[in-house]
Symmetry: D2
Subunit: 137 residues, 4 copies
C-alpha cells in the first residue's frame, strides 16, 4: 500500500452529469476526480491550483486508467478518495476510488499519471523540493 | 413581486465547468439552475423529479432568458435562488438569480418557462391539483 | 427582417450531447450556436475568433433568449442559421434558428446579445470600423 | 496486430470542448471515441446503437485506458481511428487512436473494454452469433 495520505472529497451528482443511459456519463468520473484533486490541493496540500499556475507550473495527464464497477445516478453523492501512489522527480501517479455515499459501494477506481510541466514551454519539469515536501504527507 | 417562496441551493464550481475564457462556461449557468431546481423539488416542494416521472409527468422548457452580469471562476460557489413567478394551469415560469457566495455579487439572472408534459405523449398536461398545491408555497 | 446575411453551419449531434430525457441537453443548443458562430467568423466574416483575441478583443454575452420547439436526438444533424439582427457601436445582437437536417423542422430559435470587450480590462469597447465593415455583409 | 478492420471518423472540435488549459478537455477524448464508435456501428458494422438497444442489448464500459500525447485545440478536427483488438464471447476490447487532421500527429491513444449487457437486467450476455458475425469484419 501507498505510504501517502488518502484524502476524500464529496461531489454531488448534477442532472447535467446524467447521460442517455440514465446514469452518470462515463467521462464525468474523470471530471469528478479532477474536481476532488483541485479541492484537495488547496485544503490538504496547502497549495491551490492557482498558486501552482502562478509559479509557472501545471500538471499534464500523461495517462489514465479507470474500471467502472457500478453506476452513479441522479440524487447520488460521489465520495472521491485519492492518494499518491508514486512520487517521481518529474511526476506523480495518483490512485482514486469513487464510492456512492448512500451505501459506500464502489462505483469506479483507477489512476492518473501526471507530469509536472512548465506553462511557458509545456516541457516536463523537475518538481521543486518545497513542492515535493508538500506532497510527501 | 412574486407571492411564492424563494429557495436557495449552493452549487460549487467544478474545474470542468471552466471554459477557455477562464470562467464558468455560459451554458453551465442553465445547468446550475436545473441542478438547483431538482434539489429544491425534493427538499422544498416534497416531490422529487423521480416522483414526478413516476406519475408520468415531465417538465419541458418552452423558453428561457438569461442576463450575464459577472463571471464565476474556479473556486467559487454559486448561490442559486429560484422562485415561481407564475403558476399556470399547464405550466410554470421560474425566476432565478445566481450570486457568487464569497461577495454575494450578482453573476446572472433570468427565467425559465416550463410546460408540464406527459412522458408518454410529450403533450402538454393540466397540472393535477395536488401538484398545484405543492407548488403553491 | 434583418439587412444582414444569414449563414448556416451543420453540427452533428454527439452521444455526449444527449441527456436523461434522451434528447439533446437544453444547454447544448447554446453551445451549438456558439460553435456555428466561431465557424462563421472565420469562413463568412474573414476574421477568426483567434484573430479577434489577438487584437485584444472578445465578445461577452450580455443576454440570451431561446425557445425550444422540437427536440434533437441521437443521429440528428443540427442546421444552425445565424444572422446579425442589430449592429451597435459597442455590440451586436445575433438571431439564430436551429433546424433538424432530416426534415428541416424547427428545433429552437432565439438570440444572443454580445458586447465587444477588451480582454485586458473586460470593459466594453467601441467596435473598430474595419471590424464593423467585416460584419456589415 | 489485430485481424479486424480499422475505421475512421472525423470529429470537429467545438468551442465547448476547450477547457481552461486552452485545449480539448481531457475527458472529451473519451466522448470523441464514443461518438466515433456510434457512427461506425451504423456505417461500418451495419447495426446502429438504436438497433442494438431495440434488441435489448447495451455496451457497458468495464475499463478504459488512455495516453495523452499532444493536445487538440480550437479549430482542429480529430481523426478518430478504432479497431477491435479482441472479440470475446461476452465482450469486446476496442483500440483507438486520435490524430490531429491538419498534421496527422498523434494526440491520444488507448482502449476501451466493453461487456455486452442486457438492458433489462444489466447483466453480461453472450453476444449472439449474428452480432459476432457483423463485428468480425
Amino acid at each position: 500500500m501507498s505510504e501517502y495520505s488518502q484524502f476524500e472529497t464529496l461531489i454531488p451528482v448534477r442532472p447535467d452529469d446524467i447521460d442517455m443511459n440514465l446514469h452518470v456519463h462515463n467521462s464525468r468520473y474523470y471530471d469528478y476526480v479532477i474536481a476532488a484533486r483541485y479541492e484537495q490541493m488547496e485544503r490538504c496540500y496547502n497549495m491551490s491550483m492557482e498558486a501552482f499556475l502562478e509559479r509557472g507550473f501545471s500538471w499534464f495527464a500523461r495517462s489514465a486508467y479507470i474500471e467502472h464497477k457500478r453506476s452513479l445516478h441522479l440524487g447520488d453523492v460521489a465520495v472521491v478518495r485519492t492518494q499518491i501512489e508514486e512520487l517521481r522527480s518529474r511526476g506523480v501517479k495518483v490512485w482514486f476510488e469513487i464510492h456512492k455515499q448512500s451505501d459506500e459501494k464502489l462505483a469506479a477506481r483507477g489512476w492518473f499519471d501526471y507530469a509536472m510541466v512548465s506553462i511557458e514551454t509545456g516541457r516536463p519539469q523537475t518538481i521543486p523540493s518545497d513542492i515535493v515536501e508538500k506532497y510527501s504527507i
